[in-house]
């Protein structure tokens, strides 16, 4: 296997000083600083370098909800963790091997996650008395032995950056702001990362301010050269490219993949798209991304609120477009009445919920998967909707196509449950060949369909297989009809208050959703059926569950893993799969919502493991949970 990076070359920077080069299979780096320090950009760039180099990777941004929380404080700390490896990895990593702390607050907030023996690189310039007291350090941790368990590198990044930019004519403050690029340069040197991409990126990003672009590049190079010349770093590290499946890759975040999935769905369905939406963290980037792709027939409508957003999407769907709305949990609460109207009018509609911590405004920038029951039941009366959940950033693309397939085939709103971790996290994506994507094209009704041969159009005549009604769009001659929220007579579609008809329609709507064709659940069990414990998850916990399963298997404990993409309806074989195991453990970032659904539907006992900390599970944590369960299951079986 070999890899080649786009636009690779020797570049301006190359290592000459002989350092000890240590080969690693994986590294987790966390960049942490003040929200104003540009840590997200720094992490993002490092990630791109790792991607260009051919590593597998996963990222976890973590930032405050406030745009500029008070400077230098713990609540103001913003961090970006990147995990890169020479094999396929599943999570952004539990604990950073390297912490880059740009100020005392970043050190204090993150040090607890660094394992003993880990590397800590600090910007000493920010460790002033004032900054230390601000975060409650009585003494300078750099001055005593409180960091003795770590390999600490003290680097005066602000001063060094200012020094490097002294001749640029840039003000002191502006120069100092480039210190994040200094840090990036230093880390790039330490890990033998390609640098041309970052320089190209900076020139493009600051195309309108070439002096700022050059200043950032200078700082970046200064960081690199610092590592190269100062000898304070004895070792550099190499992480070889990963042996991933053959093909061309790019790095992608969940929100971008989701937006691309929607664009692709419109193309594959040959339908114009209307996204009706209202900004909300962490879903706004879907709007931002889609608004860049109007050339694909995408109209983005930033409405006055979530209700108008979904209303416009449903109106567009009525007119024969692919209607899409995107939001987070609080927005779903506002949209529920319109989702109900979509259920009643049986129109296709994609409803994207990028879940965040709740209830109420909750933790806007943190992740959670606690909207499952809201998606499932959060409407008045019997109003079933299919639910799809992607399991990783790149998977959002496929999930969007699948949601569209179901919405168009069955003429129903579909809920797509992403979450904050997936939305902002990124990973390599094997770019699909467009020619292999599914055909999603639809057929609009053109002829009156009344079964009595009257030549009328009956809007609620159903396809016997899918139970979907026809999509007869305004402008089609002879098919004029009225739909709406009032109960409809089966077939004819006129308002009906008939008790038997209502009973029938409620059951028909349910049967339509229950009958959706969903692929069977596949189980991963390398032990060949020896496992007595099944770890079952949904959504973004796929990575940590998978990583934990690998770890326990390495210890010689068998465990089976399965992951649900379809949460409504469940795969047809789910009941059978559950019955095969002595214990089914379901880790969720909620209080056991999937567990509740499984117990109710299959009358099985579920071992529900829950945590709602606003952060993804750690593989280490689940490893412990699984190990305990496997061990006790063995004992019971004995």
């Amino acid at each position: 296997m070999s890899t080649s990076a786009n636009g690779s070359g020797t570049g301006a920077l190359s290592a000459t000083r002989p350092t000890e080069v240590s080969q690693l299979d994986r590294v987790v780096i966390r960049f942490a600083g003040d929200s104003g320090d540009g840590m997200q950009l720094t992490g993002d760039r490092f990630t791109s370098e790792a991607a260009a180099f051919g590593n597998d990777l996963a990222t976890l941004p973590n930032f405050p909800a406030e745009i500029r929380a008070p400077q230098g404080t713990i609540p103001g700390v913003s961090s970006f963790q990147v995990h890169f490896a020479d094999y396929d990895i599943l999570t952004p990593g539990d604990r950073p091997d390297v912490l880059v702390a740009m100020n005392p607050a970043a050190l204090k907030a993150n040090l607890g996650d660094v394992p003993h023996g880990g590397t800590v690189i600090v910007n000493t310039d920010e460790f002033s008395k004032r900054n230390l007291t601000k975060v409650g350090y009585d003494a300078d941790p750099l001055g005593d032995d409180s960091l003795s368990a770590y390999e600490v590198h003290r680097v005066a990044m602000s001063t060094l950056t200012q020094g490097a930019l002294a001749d640029t004519g840039l003000g002191k403050k502006d120069a100092e702001r480039c210190k994040n690029m200094f840090a990036l340069g230093l880390l790039s040197w330490m890990y033998h990362r390609p640098t041309e991409g970052t320089e190209r990126f900076l020139r493009e990003k600051f195309a309108k301010k070439p002096d700022i672009a050059e200043a950032n590049i200078l700082a970046f190079r200064a960081g690199w050269n610092y590592g190269e010349t100062t000898e304070s770093f004895a070792t550099t590290f190499e992480v070889a490219p990963a042996k991933l499946e053959q093909g061309t890759y790019r790095q992608i975040t969940g929100n971008t993949a989701l937006a691309y999935g929607i664009v692709a769905a419109g193309q594959l369905a040959k339908l114009p798209i209307l996204l009706g939406t209202y900004p909300i963290t962490p879903a706004s980037d879907i709007l931002h991304e889609l608004s860049k792709h109007k050339n694909f027939g995408v109209t983005t409508f930033q409405a006055e609120d979530e209700i108008a957003g979904i209303g416009a999407a449903l109106g567009a769907a009525y007119g024969g477009a692919l209607g899409v709305t995107s939001t987070s949990g609080p927005g779903i609460a506002l949209k529920s009445e319109t989702i109900g109207l979509g259920v009643m009018t049986e129109l296709p509609l994609i409803v994207i919920d990028v879940q965040r911590g709740g209830p109420s405004t909750g933790l806007p920038t943190k992740t959670e998967q606690a909207d499952l029951l809201q998606a499932m039941f959060g409407r008045n009366s019997e109003s079933p909707v299919p639910i799809i959940a992607p399991c990783s950033p790149a998977d959002c693309f496929d999930a969007a196509l699948e949601a569209t397939r179901i919405a168009l085939t069955y003429r129903t709103p579909v809920l797509l449950l992403s979450d904050g971790a997936i939305a902002n996290g990124s990973e390599p994506w094997l770019i699909p060949d467009v020619g292999t994507l599914p055909d999603l094209s639809v057929v609009f009704a053109t002829e009156p369909n009344a079964p009595d041969g009257s030549g009328e159009h009956w809007p609620y005549v159903r396809d016997p297989e899918t139970l979907a009604r026809e999509w007869a769009v305004p402008g089609t001659p002879g098919l004029q009809h009225r739909i709406g929220g009032l109960e409809k007579a089966d077939g004819k579609g006129n308002i009906s208050y008939d008790p038997d008809n209502h009973d029938k329609m409620v059951r028909l709507r349910q049967a339509k959703i229950d009958g959706i064709d969903v692929p069977d659940l596949t189980v991963d069990d390398p032990s060949g059926g020896e496992a007595r414990v099944l770890a079952l998850g949904w959504g973004s916990s796929y990575g940590p569950i998978g990583a934990a399963a690998r770890r326990v298997r390495k210890k010689g404990l068998p465990i089976a893993q399965a992951h649900l993409r379809h949460l409504n309806p469940f795969p047809a074989n789910l009941g059978e799969v559950l019955s095969r195991y002595d214990t089914v453990v379901v880790p969720e970032m909620n209080l056991g919502q999937l567990a509740m659904l499984l117990r109710a539907k299959y009358l099985v006992d579920i071992n529900s493991y829950t945590k709602i900390a606003g952060l993804p599970f750690k593989a280490e944590e689940l490893e412990g949970v699984f190990t305990d369960i496997i061990t006790s299951t063995k004992e019971v079986a004995r």
Binding site: M1, S2, T3, S4, N6, A51, A52, F53, G54, E245, Q246, G247, T248, Y249, R250, V263, A264, Q267, P272, L274, G276, K294, N295, F296, G297, V298, T299, F301, A303, E304, I307, A308, G311, A312, A313, L314, G315, A316, A317, Y318, G319, A321, G323, E337, T338, I431, P432, D433, V434, P474, G475, P477, L479, Q480, H481, R482, G484, G485, L486, I495
Partner: protein
């Protein structure tokens, strides 16, 4: 960027809607559904007027859509043999916005009530008008919640005694015309349910208008608010109170045309005797004045008690519509960059594993 910047031709409200030469009759617009409003409800006459006026537009029937919210008035679409959606309370303007934006070939009408449009749907109403989406909003104002059996509404007189306000309602009512003008509506009109001619005139102009057209229709609810507009229906009373607005003509009214409208202090307008004002100082009505303050001042002559009630078209100005511009952006983007899905998915930074 405005439509002018984009070099769009000035369009009429119906210019993109397919026309037909086939003669149409009112009955072509009647659906087979039994109309179920209370006997004597003002909604009947409005329905009749609309069914007889639509054939004059000469549009293909299948290209007309009525979207409504919830309320007695919002049952309207069921009775029309066009496409229609009876949606949810207050949200019709939002749904119609999505439809009108993606389908320029449709003539989209919103039917709403005073509760539907001004209470629960107030937000959507003002934003739709502000955006100037090409759709026509007909507000059936009976100054009461009909469907929920008679609670007071945002247009009820202060002190209205209803089941929910046994000691009288406390809130100051909205003047829907003033509200629409405040929301930058490019077309604002008012008519009386029983005035077939006046209503038809306003509706015809509304249909031809490109952009949001807002029409307040005073509608009698004989069950819960009977006679709310009776003073405008009694011939003698009406002559004293209704101020017909006719573009290009001095604004005057009264049995002998003895009253008129003139400018007052603070940039407002007031009613007086023509004899006192003098013919030359009567205001000549011009709905095309861009500055909303003129139409707003006109709307303020009218009052909740209907002592003076201007009817007709208050404002009719050209302004780029949201939907035309949204479609222009999509077209412009496609011209600037042909859609290439593979290129989009691939992006700029890739690497290959061989």
């Amino acid at each position: 960027m405005t439509a002018t910047d984009l070099g769009l031709p000035r369009l009429g409200g119906l210019d993109l809607v397919p026309a037909t030469d086939e003669p149409q009759k009112a009955k072509d617009y009647k659906s087979d559904q039994e109309v179920r409003w209370c006997p004597g409800c003002g909604d009947y006459v409005v329905l009749n007027t609309i069914q007889s006026f639509l054939p004059t537009l000469g549009l293909k029937r299948e290209n007309i859509v009525f979207v409504s919210g919830i309320g007695c008035s919002s049952r309207f679409p069921y009775y029309m043999n066009t496409y229609g959606m009876h949606s949810i309370h207050g949200r019709a303007p939002a749904i119609a916005t999505g439809l009108a934006t993606t389908r320029p070939d449709l003539s989209v009408w919103v039917v709403t009530g005073d509760g539907d449009a001004l209470s629960i749907g107030g937000n959507h109403l003002v934003h739709t008008l502000r955006r100037n989406v090409n759709l026509k909003i007909l507000l059936f104002n009976n100054r009461i919640y009909g469907l929920t059996k008679g609670q007071y509404s945002p247009t009820s007189d202060q002190g209205t005694v209803t089941k929910s306000t046994p000691m009288g309602s406390l809130d100051t009512p909205f003047n829907p015309v003033s509200l629409a003008l405040g929301a930058e509506a490019s077309f604002v009109g008012r008519a009386l349910d029983s005035d077939k001619k006046g209503l038809t005139e306003v509706l015809t102009a509304a249909a031809q208008h490109r952009g949001s057209a807002f029409v307040e229709i005073y509608q009698n609810c004989p069950i819960f608010n009977d006679g709310a507009f009776d003073v405008l229906k009694d011939k003698d009373e009406a002559a004293q109170r209704i101020i017909p607005l006719r573009a290009g003509e001095p604004i005057r009214f009264g049995p002998e045309g003895e009253y008129g409208v003139t400018r007052s202090g603070w940039g407002g307008l007031e009613v007086g005797k023509v004899a006192d004002i003098g013919e030359d100082d009567l205001v000549v009505h011009d709905p095309t004045i861009q500055d909303t303050s003129y139409a707003f001042a006109l709307s303020r002559i009218g009052d909740q008690h209907l002592n003076h009630t201007p009817t007709g078209i208050f404002r009719q100005v050209e302004r780029p519509t949201y939907d035309d511009q949204a479609r222009a952006q999509v077209e412009q983007a496609a011209q600037a960059k042909a859609p290439n899905l593979q290129a989009l998915l691939t992006g700029k930074d890739t690497w290959t594993v061989a």
